[in-house]
């Protein structure tokens, strides 16, 4: 345990150094990155050794303010979530070395490193805290530090708005958690996690719903997800990588943790999680498809993946309540696996997007194109990440989804509602998979392939060394996990090992399947190589010509004639029309000899739109009306006092 605190201290020290040394820009970056990374390294080694070793003596507590104890405890679930916390940040930090290049913003970079390390520490503390007070403390620190990270480029108005929206959702979510925990405390008078199970069953559902809303606002469940597509584009890319790759998983951790602690017999909990997961997953990917801002698209894709993870958790929870051990085990394990995988490929994709943004100064895929040739490393790694996130073998994304599928198929032995839920889960996963493919073919195809649509894209160059190196590492990791999944799956299995209901579940049979998957992936790669060689042979010694793309008879093609992202997605988005409101803005043809005319399609987030129209709008109107109270007229003010007295005297 001490090792872990040492590592947290070292990470934090790295941030403080960043703050103190900001005048020496390069030195500061080096020292801050190195120190924090070393801290993460210590923590990572500790985590791995504990995950596969003896997990005893892992709880400590301290007194705080006479009233509370700060308690920390590590179990397999915490350890599993510690892995991405210690694994991804060093890579992101390394990436930031070339990403944060602007020397004029050196002070800001220092602040950025400070809050970055604080975020890592806070996340680590979240997963190891063992009572509600400690948890909330770490949780709030996490929200606060990530807010500052989002506000890095505060000069841009939309970024400020993003930070603001994030702040509100973070605090609103925290309030829900306050309420949930306070409700627990009101039943048993204890802050300790262990005592949560003791509250009456009738209260458990309410507690869970409150906590689910609180954690869900961090994780990005629909309809509490609207901060993600705002905050992620606003934050610098290494921050988006961490926030999307690791931080939103803290919401998942919270949901899972409170579920475990409540130990509620109610089947409602699993059903709520599962249904939310399906809605979140499908709508997340549909919105991702509709978006043209590459980082916004990735943010929605995170929403989608949160949906997938929640489907996994939901399958597990339904499995527990139906007492189908296989369903429960593979649901949870799949969710865990996907947490781990998503942390890698989503970080990779955000870093790729950051690299593109860094070079071209635009995030709009309609302004990009042809980057594969200009930024080969970024392009290839992004391609790998895209395949992985679409859940296609032989990359990592498939493994997690396979586990969830497997859990869901095992759940088909149930009857009634759980059966239908299992069916829906499987079909949602299929739909999500298909749409994710569509979504990421769009990004890769439009941003990286074809011809550059603007000057900015045409003049792009490959990004700095550290950025490329980090992305390559992650891309390779995606492939390795996909081809050789056994050790990583056993990581996830270790993670769920401490869950009481799953005790004694035998995974040997499944490990055989995993080995087969691994072999099949290998087989696929082997055939692929053979076919490639075969193709090479066919072409050897032949004439290879090159020319323009066949324009179907049109001889004057321009780069603007390329298919656009909006058109690419239009048909699919239209299919989900009731959930994806959109508006066509057409300037029309007005004169006999038409001049320039424009056509623009804007899609809205239904949650965002409804918040605006149904919630914020009326509330603002009401508040504006009530502002009449402070009228400026002293006679009226004295009147208020008298009215107050009269009203109170009526109660006498």
């Amino acid at each position: 345990m001490d090792t872990l605190f040492v590592s947290i201290a070292v990470i934090f020290a790295g941030g403080v150094v960043g703050l103190l040394l900001y005048r020496q820009f390069t030195l500061m970056k080096l020292v801050a990155i190195a120190t924090s990374s070393v801290g993460c390294g210590i923590g990572f080694i500790f985590t791995l050794s504990k995950l596969f070793g003896q997990a005893s003596g892992l709880d400590v507590s301290y007194n705080w303010l006479h009233l509370f104890t700060l308690a920390f405890k590590i179990d397999s679930v915490s350890l599993f979530f510690l892995i991405p916390i210690f694994l991804i940040p060093p890579l992101a930090l390394l990436y930031s070395f070339h990403y944060l290049e602007n020397k004029e913003k050196q002070a800001r970079a220092g602040v950025n490193y400070f809050f970055f390390s604080m975020l890592i520490c806070a996340m680590a503390l979240v997963v190891i805290s063992a009572n509600m007070i400690t948890f909330l403390l770490a949780w709030e620190l996490m929200s606060l530090s990530s807010f500052f990270l989002v506000m890095y480029d505060y000069e841009v108005k939309s970024n400020r708005k993003a930070g603001y929206v994030y702040f509100i959702f973070a605090q609103g979510g925290a309030m829900m958690l306050f309420a949930a925990f306070a409700l627990i405390y009101s039943y048993n008078g204890s802050f300790a996690f262990e005592s949560i199970a003791a509250i009456p069953d009738s209260a458990k559902l309410l507690v869970f719903v409150l906590a689910f809303l609180g954690f869900g606002s961090k994780a990005g469940i629909f309809p509490l997800h609207i901060w993600l597509p705002k905050a992620h584009p606003a934050a610098p890319s290494h921050v988006s990588a961490i926030m999307s790759g690791v931080m939103i998983k803290m919401g998942i951790y919270g949901i899972f943790r409170i579920y475990l602690l409540l130990d509620s017999p109610s089947p409602m909990i699993g059903q709520i999680v599962l249904i939310t997961g399906m809605i979140t997953g499908i709508l997340g990917v549909v919105y991702a498809l509709a978006k043209q801002d590459i980082k916004e698209l990735l943010a929605y894709s995170s929403v989608e993946n949160i949906g997938i993870i929640l489907i996994g958790l939901g399958i597990g929870m339904v499995g527990v309540s139906q007492q189908i051990q296989a369903m429960a085990f593979f649901g949870f394990a799949g969710a865990f696996m996907h947490v781990f995988n998503h942390s890698i490929f989503k970080s990779l994709l955000f870093m790729g997007a950051g690299s593109v943004l860094h070079q071209t100064k635009t995030k709009n895929i309609e302004e990009l194109g042809g980057l594969m040739k200009r930024m080969p490393v970024t392009g290839r790694t992004f391609l790998a990440g895209s395949v992985a996130i679409s859940g296609l073998p032989p990359f990592s994304g498939f493994i997690g989804e396979f586990l969830i599928y497997y859990g869901a198929f095992n759940g088909l032995t149930a009857t009634k509602l759980p059966y239908i839920l299992a069916i829906l889960a499987i079909i949602s996963l299929a739909v999500i998979g298909g749409l994710a493919t569509a979504c990421f073919t769009k990004v890769v195809g439009l941003a990286f392939l074809g011809e550059p649509r603007t000057e900015k894209a045409a003049n792009a160059k490959e990004s700095g060394f550290t950025m490329g190196a980090v992305m390559s590492i992650m891309a390779v990791a995606c492939l390795v996990i996909g081809v050789l999944p056994q050790p990583f799956i056993s990581l996830a299995f270790q993670g769920v090992a401490d869950i009481p209901v799953l005790a004694g579940f035998n995974t040997d049979a499944f490990m055989v399947i995993i080995r087969q998957i691994s072999c099949t992936a290998g087989l696929f790669i082997a055939i692929f190589i053979v076919v490639s060689i075969f193709r090479k042979m066919l072409y050897s010694g032949k004439e290879i010509g090159s020319g323009g793309t066949w324009g179907c008879g049109f001889t004057q093609p321009t780069v603007r004639m390329q298919y656009t992202g909006t058109s690419y997605a239009a048909e699919m988005v239209d299919f989900f029309r009731p959930f994806v409101p959109f508006k066509d803005i057409y300037s029309g043809i007005k004169k006999i000899f038409p001049g320039t005319t424009t056509w623009d399609t804007k899609t809205f987030d239904i949650a965002d739109k409804n918040y605006q129209e149904r919630l914020i709008g009326p509330m603002m109107t009401l508040m504006a009306k009530l502002r009449w109270i402070q009228h400026g007229n002293i006679q009226l003010y004295i009147g208020y006092i008298i009215v107050a007295i009269i009203v109170l005297l009526l109660f006498l």
Partner: protein, 305 residues
Amino acid sequence: MESILSFCFAVLIAPLLPAVIQKVKAYFAGKQGPPLLINYYTMIKLFKKGSVYSTSTSFVFKLGPVVGFTTSIMMLLFFPMAEIAPLFSFHGDVLMLFYLMGLGRFFTIIAALDTASPFEGMGAAREAFFSTLAEMTVFGILIIFFKLTGSLSFQEFFSGDHVISLMGEYGALLLLVVAGLYVVMLTENSRVPVDDPATHLELTMIHEVMILDHSGPDLALIELGAYFKLLFYSGFLARLIDPFHSANVWINSLLFYSVVAFIYITIGVVESITARYKMDLVPKFILTPFIFVFFVTILTMGVMQ
């Protein structure tokens, strides 16, 4: 050994069968039609050629055909043609294979987008959309099969105690499944009424437009891949409806491939007597079997294996 032979035979016969469709269509049109071996000639011709690549393209363009071909080969490797065990099989392989097909699609699509052509993107978008819809039906079918056999592998679907067959236990239910699978086959293989491989207007194409810029051996790989895929789907259908069962491997195979040929003929008939749908009707067409299949999944709730 049987498995290897079966696989080789499937690979060899795959290009032959689509010619049957062409023959049927020619018959309906009152023409003689191309020779049955036309596809083999085409392949040989294409393999002999070189290629012209668009200056817009990158390595992804060349990757597309290879990945597409490889995934199609994988399907045949795992599918038990004619009651003969496939070369590879494991519990859960269906999931992996359908996802591998997704991978093939992924690369076909981005290869199309790599050309910077306005038409190919259009085809790619439709491909992505329609196959997503078809995938829903496929997974619905997998759910039913899992309910019926308790397994997740092609090999296990058609062997052991609970063989899935129209003649078997829940044959009546399977009727709807067969219809669904047939539509999926038409969709996934870009046949009428979803797509028309013989159309001449790029704006209305799906699959054909995506491969406009491929030529020579690349095009050959794509075409071969498409033949394999069609064979896989019709084989899948044939296993469901095949009413004959014989202890002799040879007779069995013969019967099986005649059923397959029958399916090809029906495709030809369908293509001859229907026109392709308007593009906005296609999603409805693809979703209809999903409704069937979903209905069947609900019906199978009580079934326990």
